[in-house]
Symmetry: C2
């Protein structure tokens, strides 16, 4: 994290995603690096370490970049998982490590908008700092089917299955609803592609 | 989730972990299945789907089983990641899908206690239902060095590096502290082994 912190305190509008891509393939390094390089990160601030990568910026631009990363990584014959956490409004956050603008520009949208394949996703939403957080979590579960996704209740998480574009559209809608109800929230998600497990 | 729900409502004492193992190896299926089979799950309730596995039971027994899963999976030449979430006290939880007893028995402890290797771990703690959650998060960061771990502050998470036994001992201590301060909490963690990334 930058040592040049301009001021402390969570602010709505500074949105981020910490994520990791796991290709279940012995040739994983070029798959990960290739996807990172192919993704247009001009609208986000980014940093990587050995465990994960973080994108920070406006909500639309961060979701655009994370979706592009996954869509750029996908290949027909490879089981791959993207683990991530969207977060906004943490009281410990700083107004540093940001792109030039938080305005929506979504530079990847055109190149990725027509790519479709099925995924499975589990998610867990944490609206922080409020006693009354369960209604939002239940509302979010209810939204999955409106987005064309199949919903399953599982312990500690919600599972949705459907097209990759619908899953990202749903995750984005969950964040946009959550920012209206909580000054700080986190949404953990795991998206799996080409799993060989039959259910 | 079981349809035979005996009653609703989160209770401290019913602890769980949903986790996934990601071997970055084209031969990932036998690595995952081998580790699951080698782990003694007699003290937990477990269920698997295409995305993840869940263990439920008493805190000590669930941590024992998850640690064993990772230690049983480890091999010298394979980059592998375990993603998981510990959780306790969710108001939507049920008093079903449980082992016979929540009493500590830790059947894997003897077989795994002497295995050591270095890991990197990132974690994010969510104490729910309280406005005053930041002091606990800061206290938990401070505990990392007491457990012999190197601490790094990163956006949206805390990173710790050290021996695998110390990391699990730390994660267990974080849960035991959190249950004293929050009626519901979740601890997300990602443990990476044999990463080829030099830092």
């Amino acid at each position: 994290m930058s040592k040049q912190m301009q001021c402390h305190g969570g602010q709505m509008g500074i949105f981020g995603c910490r994520f990791s891509l796991y290709p279940m393939d012995s040739d994983f390094v070029p798959i990960i690096l290739g996807a990172l390089e192919k993704t247009d990160t001009s609208a986000v601030w980014s940093a990587s370490d050995a465990l994960s990568t973080v994108y920070r910026g406006g909500l639309d631009n961060v979701v655009d970049a994370v979706a592009a990363l996954l869509l750029n990584a996908w290949r027909e014959d490879c089981h791959m998982v993207l683990e991530g956490q969207f977060s906004e409004g943490c009281p410990g956050d700083v107004t540093a490590d940001l792109p030039k603008s938080l305005d929506p520009s979504c530079p990847n949208r055109e190149s990725i908008g027509e790519i479709h394949f099925p995924v499975s996703c589990k998610l867990a939403l944490y609206p922080m700092g409020t006693k009354d957080y369960m209604p939002l979590i239940l509302q979010v579960k209810g939204m999955a089917e409106e987005h064309g996704l199949r919903l399953n209740h599982i312990h500690y998480a919600t599972r949705v299955d459907g097209d990759v574009q619908q899953v990202f559209s749903y995750l984005e809608a969950v964040c946009k609803l959550s920012r209206e109800h909580a000054s700080h929230y986190a949404l953990h998600f795991t998206i799996s592609m080409n799993s060989p497990t039959e259910e």
